[in-house]
């Protein structure tokens, strides 16, 4: 069962660096403790989302590979 999130964003139609940008905006608008799930087909997201999460000091909850895309769950930690 995938981890449920406060908000789910489908960025599968979005080209690099779109998914990361959408995630950053969603985290900015979220409350501390919220989780955001983002779906991305961009292979760059695999390195960029965890790197941003670490740099911005949030929490990478889960990365799962689905059919042709990945789902990233991030918790807003501050």
């Amino acid at each position: 069962m995938p981890t449920a999130a406060t908000k789910e964003i489908d960025a599968r139609g979005s080209f690099c660096p779109g998914p990361l940008m959408e995630l950053i905006r969603a985290i900015r608008d979220a409350d501390v403790g919220d989780t955001i799930a983002i779906l991305s087909k961009d292979p760059g997201s695999r390195t960029d989302i965890p790197a941003w999460v670490a740099k911005a000091k949030h929490e990478m909850v889960e990365i799962s590979d689905e059919d042709g895309y990945s789902r990233y769950v991030v918790k807003k930690a501050r």
Binding site: G13, F15, C16, P17, G18, L20, M21, I24, R25, R28, D48, A51, W52, K55, A56
Partner: protein, 137 residues
């Protein structure tokens, strides 16, 4: 990681502006102070009447120019100007116009899109970029 990155945007070709805007986005996302210094053809692409106009590919594209343009359309690559607008929205990004090019092309500040913060001389750019990495594109 560099805490500051500066991009000298000399080229006004579609592919190089795309690359520049994408790298600026990465820098902005990673919390790096980012400066763009628009000069020559790079500055020309920031004219109000140029944004949204189709731009040529760089000479490096050669025979692949047409195919690359098609691929960018097909894959829904967002226009460089919107990639840059997103970067400005999420990060610490500053866009400066080269005073010399403005003078050379008789271009008033009003002719440029609003993302351009100010018109500066190269000396000021050197001062702003000091201590960080500099990319020429």
């Amino acid at each position: 990681m560099a805490e500051k990155m500066s991009f000298i945007v000399f080229s006004g070709s579609a592919d190089k502006l795309q690359a520049a805007a994408t790298m600026v986005s990465g820098a902005a996302a990673m919390g790096v102070e980012t400066h763009l210094f628009l000069t020559f053809w790079g500055l020309n692409a920031f004219r109000k009447d140029m944004v949204g106009q189709p731009l040529p590919m760089s000479s490096e594209a050669g025979d692949m120019a047409e195919m690359m343009g098609k691929l960018m359309m097909e894959k829904g690559v967002p226009p460089w100007s919107s990639v840059l607008a997103d970067a400005i929205d999420i990060g610490d990004v500053h866009v400066h116009a080269c005073a010399m090019t403005m003078d050379l092309m008789d271009m008033p500040k009003e002719a440029l899109v609003d993302v351009v913060e100010d018109v500066i001389g190269v000396g000021r750019f050197i001062e702003l970029s000091a201590g960080g990495s500099v990319v020429f594109i």
